[in-house]
């Protein structure tokens, strides 16, 4: 007899309580942890509005942290993630702080000057987010080819898989636009997502599952199997992932890094994937403005 799994709505609420407890001790966090925190907060608010009440100083915390990020000049590590955080700030406060606004202007200039037809689709997420910030006009997704024969993808490396998933995300504008994606490719991506979960590569599985969702294939049996797996891997405290081996390895490599950074990343990946593969049409990039 199958046991009943918590519904995703409940999973989000439990995760938001865990998130609130994570930063309550006032300990400093790395920029990537802070970025992930805001993304997760936004996700929680969108998928379960009742969860937002557990974070009392959200607005001030976001301003403070984003200001701290710009001060440390660490924002260049991932422009897309930072732009996303800027959107989160704008969404929560209605306007950007001056420090963050300066960065967005720099990012706008940097993206506008880059032209590379071969990898235009790689810049698309930044352009898309800038448009959401009213800093750039809407630009339709660039032409980017998908593999005509998807068979070799089954044996391809992780970077190639991420690249194909990114192309699908761009072609479909994160699920907003229908695109002609071969059924065979989607079948292979579904199998690869399942293989990634067997290897406990939650990040890669998340990328592939979200690509399936953007392509309109989230109702498949394989996606449901994957969703059940992710829900099974939410811990009692609300976080996701049984990541003891990874946390131990990180502690050995980077002892000053907070071990929660591993769990935070996994929790973001799992909730993001659950939200975007749910029956209700939601896309983190598309629905934040």
């Amino acid at each position: 007899m199958r046991t009943r799994r918590p519904k995703p709505h409940t999973a989000t609420t439990r995760a938001s309580y865990w998130l609130a407890s994570l930063f309550r001790d006032g300990r400093d966090a790395t920029p990537s942890m802070m970025m992930n925190r805001y993304l997760l907060l936004s996700l929680c608010r969108h998928t379960d509005p009742s969860s937002c009440h557990v974070v009392d100083d959200e607005r001030r915390a976001m301003e403070t942290t984003l200001g701290r990020l710009t001060f440390r000049n660490l924002l260049t590590c991932d422009s897309s993630a930072v732009l996303l955080c800027a959107i989160v700030q704008k969404h929560a406060i209605g306007k950007l702080s001056s420090a963050v606004d300066r960065y967005v202007i720099d990012a706008t200039r940097a993206v506008a000057t880059q032209h590379d037809a071969a990898s235009e689709y790689k810049l698309y997420s930044a352009r898309y987010l800038l448009h959401r910030l009213d800093r750039a006009p809407y630009s339709p997704p660039p032409v980017c080819e998908l593999p005509h024969h998807p068979g070799p993808l089954l044996l391809a490396g992780e970077q190639d898989l991420r690249d194909v998933a990114n192309r699908i995300a761009v072609l479909t504008e994160y699920g907003a636009r229908a695109a002609d994606i071969p059924h065979g490719l989607l079948t292979i991506i579904e199998t690869l997502a399942l293989h990634s979960l067997r290897k406990y590569n939650l990040a890669l599985a998340g990328v592939l599952l979200r690509a399936l969702s953007y392509a309109g294939a989230a109702s498949g049996h394989g996606v449901q199997v994957a969703r059940d797996f992710l829900l099974d891997h939410q811990r009692d405290d609300g976080s996701f992932g049984y990541l003891g081996p990874e946390t131990a390895a990180l502690a050995q490599r980077r002892p000053r890094l907070r071990p929660e950074s591993v769990t935070l990343n996994a929790t973001l990946v799992c909730l993001w994937t659950l939200a975007e593969t749910s029956p209700s049409p939601f896309s983190l990039y598309r629905d934040l403005s």
Partner: protein, 315 residues
């Protein structure tokens, strides 16, 4: 990927693997001397005999390579040191019984062994052996295929105790679980000779889906032993979902070495045992014989299902 049709590639693969089996036939010989058995070689010998039985079922017993292998199995199985072990060590029935049942299916009856096996069945021991569900199916399949009279339940009933009947998640099954799944399907379908849709009922579609996922997963893992077995399962259920079926076949064909063997999951090309000639041959055989047998069977079943004239498989 070349434009050679898949069936031509499968025929070539089968010829090449049969040649490798023939070249290494002495390593299948299970007797250490005229009176003692090398226990490590009984399993490979039994599996070689089983392959002969599959060929015979598909009307391939006149294939010259197979005839040579079948003669070897027949002559060896009738050696006194091997012949009487079956009734003296009934717990080893699943190995020894396989050999003689395969010979029966291949048109090489062994009346003394038939009598011994029927005696074992009639005295009740085989029905009480402690076996996991798919091994119980193995026992019934062996007894039914020869055939021998037995009181055990039919395969369609035993199937309901197996893992595949319960449709586990593809994210939880281990490699040994998958072996149990593949073997249950082999026996239930008699390697594709029985249409199992009525037996499986509303589980059929989900079973096909699970097998297809596992096929993709194990192709990515380059486990050619499991890939071969899962391709046989796809044949058994007549469920060949593309593109995964074609991709996996191409990957298996490409995994065959120039010598004709297909590398097993634990074969290490950097093993120190490969540095010396005599240990290299033994190591390569031990690690690759099973995967090669499976690949050979997979090719045969696909070729036979398309009704390709057996002359096409001769070099």
């Amino acid at each position: 990927m070349t434009t050679t049709r898949l069936d031509t590639q499968q025929a070539a693969m089968m010829v090449s693997s049969l040649d490798w089996l023939l070249a290494n036939l002495d390593l299948f010989y299970p007797l250490r001397s005229t009176s003692s058995v090398d226990v490590e070689r009984i399993k490979p010998f039994a599996e070689l005999a089983f392959l002969c039985g599959i060929f015979a079922q598909r009307g391939r017993q006149t294939d010259s390579r197979l005839t040579h292998i079948l003669d070897f199995v027949d002559d060896t199985a009738r050696q006194p040191a091997l012949r009487d072990r079956l009734i003296r060590q009934p717990a080893t029935f699943l190995l020894y019984g396989t050999i003689y049942a395969a010979l029966e299916r291949s048109g090489r009856p062994c009346p003394p062994e038939r009598h011994a096996i029927q005696t074992l069945i009639d005295n009740g021991y085989l029905a009480t052996m402690e076996l996991v569900p798919f091994r119980r199916m193995d026992l019934v399949y062996t007894l039914s295929s020869a055939p021998y009279r037995h009181p055990l339940p039919p395969l369609s009933v035993l199937y309901k105790d197996t893992l595949i009947y319960k449709l586990p998640s593809p994210l939880h099954v281990s490699t040994s679980d998958v072996y149990g799944i593949t073997h249950a399907i082999f026996y239930l379908s008699d390697f594709g000779r029985v249409d199992v849709r009525t037996i499986m009922g509303d589980r059929f579609e989900a079973t096909c889906r699970l097998l297809t996922w596992l096929l993709g997963i194990y192709t990515r893992a380059s486990n050619w032993d499991i890939v071969g077995e899962l391709l046989i399962c796809c044949h058994c259920l007549r469920c060949k979902a593309e593109p995964l079926f074609g991709v996996s076949w191409n990957a298996l064909i490409n995994a065959q070495t120039s010598a004709g063997d297909v590398t097993g999951p634990y074969f290490d090309p950097r093993s120190s045992r490969l540095r010396k000639a005599h240990t290299a041959i033994q190591y390569r055989f031990a690690e690759n014989y099973h995967t090669t047998l499976v690949a050979t069977a997979a090719c045969l079943l696909e070729i036979a299902s398309r009704g390709i004239d057996h002359e096409d498989t001769e070099a």
